[in-house]
Subunit: 570 residues, 2 copies
């Protein structure tokens, strides 16, 4: 058996194992050392196959697919700094708990540490930001070799899928020649089955927990990002009748059943800025599912009131409790605690939240009709979204605008963001990855710097069809910094933080054959949103003013506080 | 003393220590957590201050400055994936031995591992790809704190400068509030002095080495990339009279003294493709200074002839010897072995090399007049370069075209490339960084994929003046792969490796207010090169054909081999 024959066997076995383990999507970056696997995946039937030449964007694209599918995606590149370019997305995947099977081709041992080109130390390349990593043996002519890779690929995929999910890394050295035999078929592989366990609580915990739900009226549910499912939540919440503070990324603000609308509190970010209201709604019990919510007022509220019982339900032992107020950590799947109880009545506590929510909603509606700032414009987008689309919110201002202005609805809209580490990098790619997975029309709300940061994300549109509307809030620089104390150092602020680039995005639109509209008012924006989308990519650029945004937001919050004061101080 | 006061003291002390240690350049990426240091560097006099919003490009830009200055550059960012975006350039800096002082702001301990936003595990973030890393203490109100940071900043800078140079990493946690007092002056800091040692050989080694040079006629010097200086080389080589196989990145092909022109062999890549010549010029002794050369024929020649004595002079203990043919490893500065000996005569061995070099040069000249391929077009650029400019060659095809077609000259032209890991990432930024350091007119020769990969590198041009001519060889995809065996799998090749994007670069030019010319022939290219450059950035796009390139290159090499055969087979 020559090298080519058993290299081919190795690759066939590798690819077949990945396929039988249930992985469907493969993102490949062109390169030389990874040739055997690239050809291996390409010739195998049954994979969705994507290419991207910028490895940083490729990794975020894979992250987007995995985020939407909640299932591992293969990400393959050649040796050298190509692999280092994966790092930002891997870090995000680790903290956002997204399963990725990262495969880096490597030089064989004899070309490591000897100054050979494109040979870097790839062992443990991603440090503590992958769940597991393994260095593979050179393809060899023996059964042990095939048995080794089968077991370790399966272990890698199982590890990536086990709670909490996350990225894993396989480093695969190849010797030249790198060409496999494209015709060679190998006797059928049959990998062992694997069952990934579900984390469920003990009976003892459930008894205590159900009693708590049953007897306590001043209880709050807080639901954050990164739940593996939302199915069953409302059937459960309907029986408990506690207010549900739904972070937009919980995806509980959409597809809300009519009879649960009063439970769904979406205005807490504004409400909790009002002292009078805040002081009157201290809960006795808080149960949080998923990640910590985006809202800073909510964070400050929880920190100040320190509920007697605060249960964080989180499938990881990494306690997500930056406030140090959690009293019970339940390391189980959120859905395992969605157990309907004996149906309760609507309490006065729930009514307080629900009424305040209505008051806030009314003010926000008035504000949205009056104002022309980023928030009002973002809300215009949210209003226009139809049933069955995806909305991706960039970090920085967009996710905050979503938090404040994305209202509960019965429409089926899925919300996504990169909140593992809240970076503004790779956003375009992640959004395109989500679309690749869901095939639903995609909308991306993003600032000008984040858009520019990952403009290379658009390259995938050259290799595959897509359908995305990118709404760029262009305030020419880093808008979010205007809210920070450092903005008062005016001498240095604009220079260090504003970073206006003055770059014009119609050029990007022209380059990527995208539909482009510039928008300067809400009316224009509404008109444009009603026009037909005729290209794969549509870019709507909204010109806003950083200073106006801060002023109008503050005005709105003051108005809400004032009306709430009149109710709760009375 | 409140937090703000001693935070300011800490920052002032930090910045002053960096300054007194001799660091002059600071590259900053906007972000929140790094605010204290960003303001600290901004308010201190005497730094060159650069901004870039894409951290990946920022890091490569800093790498370019450090590459040209051979001196450490500060690279600062906020916490989170921003820091992960530095990784590709840090890996390149590690292998290319470029000194960088990477400073990542971090969350304080109480916000680590608790799910706080933008908080990732930044301890040892860059793994084995920095020379040293340290996690700093939170700014505190005591002398020990200031003493600690002073000593460790100095250690970091000394480590980055010690042979072999490389990147170091300081992780600095900050608690809110992040604003320093911009007026506060602190009593003058006076850091201890530090002397970085030079690596020199023992007297015993020098005696043996000089005797070897004196008595051996069939000796070769091979000079590669990453020498800390070339000063003194020709005064030395002139006395030894051995052929000097000068890799373009040795920078020994330019500023060649007239009486050393015959020593400088620049055609070895073509010469060593001819069997007859190759078989007749086996050396007894080879002495290599710097990194392994780019040329594959040279590599194969050395591997085949296995000289009795092969001295690799390399200041690192990482033996750069992928061929496993080095017999003596001298871990010293190259220049410490440039000791003139008693002047020797021109040997017949030198004459053989010199004559063959002339033959090859003649053929190459004829080819350059006849052909219109990438090589001929690249050579047209090299011809046009005037005294006192910098040429940056991208990895992949451009560096190979430089190797083959960049002829020895007395003009002062400095050549640069990223050859630590040979990536095609970050090339635009590194070239712009070199210009920022040297202020000489810059030329960048780059392929279309590499250009696209780091198009964000151009963003720095929005914040500072620059002067660069970017020559993009557009063969619409990865040209280098056409030379590889995998190109024969035509069914899959174009799909996996060709990756034609069809993107048009005039849009990029328009976006960055760059001068743009499209060129389709040598004549057009010459004409365009003679036109005046009126913008900071000039992009000249050359449309070439991948298949033609492979054919014409092979024709040239055959012609040279044929004439050499007629001399050496006779």
């Amino acid at each position: 058996m020559n090298n080519n024959t058993y290299l081919t066997s190795y690759v066939n076995h590798f690819v077949e194992t990945v396929k039988q383990a249930g992985v469907k999507d493969v993102v490949i970056c062109p390169g030389s050392r990874s040739t055997p696997l690239a050809y291996g995946f390409a010739k195998s039937e049954g994979f969705e196959f994507y290419r991207q030449i910028d490895e940083r964007s490729a990794a975020f694209f894979a992250l987007g697919i995995a985020k939407a599918k909640k299932s591992p995606v293969v990400l393959l590149c050649t040796s050298g700094t190509a692999a280092a370019n994966f790092f930002p997305a891997i870090v995000e995947a680790y903290y956002a708990r997204i399963p990725l099977l990262v495969i880096t081709a490597d030089r064989p041992h004899e070309l490591r540490e000897v100054g050979a080109p494109q040979a870097i130390d790839q062992i443990h390349l991603y440090g503590k930001h992958v769940k597991w990593t393994v260095d593979f043996p050179i393809p060899e002519d023996n059964e042990e070799n095939l048995s080794f890779i089968e077991r370790h690929i399966q272990r890698a995929i199982t590890t990536s899928k086990a709670s909490p999910m996350g990225p894993v890394h396989i480093n695969v050295p190849f010797r030249e020649p790198l060409l496999i035999n494209m015709e060679q078929q190998d006797s059928s592989v049959q990998i062992s089955k694997s069952e990934v366990g579900q984390l469920v609580p003990s009976q003892e915990f459930i008894t205590w927990y159900k009693e708590l739900l049953q007897k306590e009226d001043k209880g709050l549910f807080i639901v954050g990002d990164s739940l593996s499912t939302t199915e069953g939540f409302w059937d459960f919440a309907r029986t408990v009748q506690w207010p549900v503070l739904a972070d937009p990324l919980s995806n509980l603000r959409s597809s809300v059943p009519e009879d649960c609308m009063h439970l769904c509190i979406d205005q807490y970010d504004a409400l909790l800025k009002a002292n009078s209201f805040r002081d009157n709604v201290n809960p006795n019990v808080v149960i949080r599912f998923g990640a910590q919510p985006v809202s800073k007022p909510l964070t400050q509220f929880l920190k100040a009131c320190k509920p007697n019982v605060f249960i964080a339900v989180d499938e990881s032992t990494i306690f997500r409790d930056s406030l140090h107020i959690v009293t019970h950590h339940a390391q189980v799947e959120a859905a395992s605690l969605w157990i309907p109880i004996e149906e309760k009545q609507c309490s006065s506590y729930l009514k307080d939240w629900s009424n305040a929510n209505d008051i806030s909603t009314k003010h926000v509606q008035a504000y949205l009709e009056m104002e022309e700032d980023e928030g009002a414009l973002a809300a215009t987008l949210f209003e226009a979204l139809s049933d069955g689309v995806d909305l991706f919110a960039s970090s920085s201002m967009p996710i905050r605008d979503v938090d404040t202005f994305y209202n509960k609805t019965s429409k089926n809209i899925q919300l996504y963001a990169n909140r593992g580490t809240n970076g503004i990098d790779g956003v375009v790619s992640t959004a395109l990855g989500v679309h690749a997975a869901t095939k639903r029309p995609g909308y991306l709300l993003i600032g000008d710097l984040a858009f520019l940061h990952d403009v290379n994300g658009l390259i995938v549109s050259r290799f595959q069809q897509t359908d995305i509307t990118i709404v760029v809030m262009n305030n020419d620089g880093g808008g979010i910094f205007s809210y920070l104390p450092q903005s008062t150092e005016t001498n240095y602020f604009e220079h260090l933080f504003g970073t206006p680039t003055g770059l014009e995005f119609p050029h990007i639109a022209a380059m990527y054959d995208a539909q482009y509209n510039a928008v300067r008012s809400k009316d224009e924006f509404q008109k444009v949103l009603n026009e037909q989308k005729v290209k794969d990519i549509r870019i709507i650029e909204i010109f806003t003013n950083r200073q106006v945004n801060t002023d109008t937001h503050r005005k709105l919050w003051d108005a809400i506080s004032k009306e709430l004061d009149s109710v709760w101080k009375a």
